[in-house]
């Protein structure tokens, strides 16, 4: 990041390569629209480059990056709520049973297993996407290995206890919605 601060584009390119996936995952799960998520993810990195001068070395880069991502996602959600017609690709209630996004199929599983896992993934994805924004964001950030609870709290702009409470409440909602699937034990079976 210090090199990026000095205007090193190659260093910036490496930074994008390293963080593009977590930022894109976060944006896609927050916005529920792949095309918009990619635009926002791109914008996150452009903002990072433009604001590099303001970056303080004392703070952790990923915290700063996810704070920018969070702000842009929330801005987009607010903008969408003001202009609902703008988002033509957003999910429709009649399609709720369909997977909301396209995912990379890295796993090589048998067709029935793939079908089952695909359904489960769609269910969990839908349940996550139905959570309130702040709970969804807290749960998604919680899965980022790089961020501690304190750093998640910084990104969310709330206290540590409030952050844990958000995660706890979000998980309770998810457990309620996914109870039949959780109890089936499918997720716990080895690949």
């Amino acid at each position: 990041m210090l090199l990026v601060k000095q205007g090193d584009r190659e260093a910036f390119s490496q930074l994008v390569e390293k963080y593009k996936r977590p930022v894109m995952n976060l944006a896609a799960r927050m916005l529920r629209d792949l095309a918009e998520a990619e635009d926002i993810a791109q914008n996150v990195f452009v903002q990072v480059y433009k604001s590099a001068g303001r970056y303080q070395v004392s703070s952790k880069f990923s915290t700063w990056l996810f704070t920018i991502a969070r702000n842009l996602c929330l801005n987009e959600i607010r903008r969408r709520s003001r202009h609902p017609a703008d988002s033509m690709d957003a999910s429709h209630p009649e399609q709720e049973d369909q997977p909301l996004q396209q995912f990379e199929d890295k796993k090589t599983v048998s067709p029935p297993d793939r079908l089952l896992h695909g359904e489960l993934e769609a269910k969990i994805h839908q349940a996550v996407s139905e959570l309130p924004e702040n709970q969804r964001l807290a749960i998604l950030l919680c899965r980022q290995d790089e961020l501690s609870y304190e750093e998640i709290a910084k990104v969310l702009g709330c206290s540590l206890s409030a952050t844990k409470s958000l995660i706890h409440r979000g998980r309770e909602t998810l457990k309620q919605k996914l109870k039949p699937y959780l109890r089936s034990g499918v997720w716990l079976s080895p690949e």
Partner: protein, 167 residues
């Protein structure tokens, strides 16, 4: 489910990723002492697994290239904006001249109107002064017997025939 600080700590740790060996040992001992919490723990574990298994979102192959392109566009726009600021005085000057000329015409029109108004007021004042002077004239009553006096003063026409006889 439970407010036991140990269980809470293990739970929070499990939300972030797999438990360490030491934590697993702690959990095992704790669950043996609290078998009623096992179902809750298993739900938590299954949810963790489900969240972990959520696949990565599909990302376009040229994502980084597109970011760099967006950055180039952004920088080009900023450069244009800077250039615009440097030479932006020209259109501003033309605009200022137009505004100045417009303001001059308006002020001139207002002054002309004001001047005409002053002249008109002055004429009215002068007319009023003339009317005011009329009050110093004799009262119209003195003309009351004007016709009678006029008749008295009038002399009959000269009798030309008599005059010639007298001569």
């Amino acid at each position: 489910m439970t407010n036991d600080p140990l269980y809470e700590r293990l739970l929070e740790s499990s939300w972030r990723g797999p438990l360490s060996e030491a934590e697993q040992a702690e959990l095992k001992a704790w669950l043996e002492a609290h078998p009623e919490a096992r179902a809750h723990w298993e739900d938590e574990l299954a949810l963790n697994e489900g969240l972990t298994r959520l696949p990565d979102v599909l990302l376009s192959n040229n994502f980084t290239a597109r970011v760099m392109q967006a950055l180039d566009l952004e920088q080009a726009a900023e450069a244009r904006s800077r250039t615009g600021r440097r030479f932006g005085w020209r259109p501003r000057l033309a605009w200022s001249l137009r505004v100045g000329l417009g303001a001059f015409v308006l002020v001139a029109a207002w002054l002309a109107f004001h001047r005409a108004e002053v002249v008109e007021r002055r004429n009215i004042a002068e007319s009023l002064a003339v009317v005011a002077n009329v009050s110093s004239l004799p009262s119209p009553r003195i003309l009351e017997d004007f016709d009678a006096i006029r008749v008295m003063n009038s002399t009959p026409p000269a009798d030309e025939q008599l005059l010639s006889l007298l001569q």
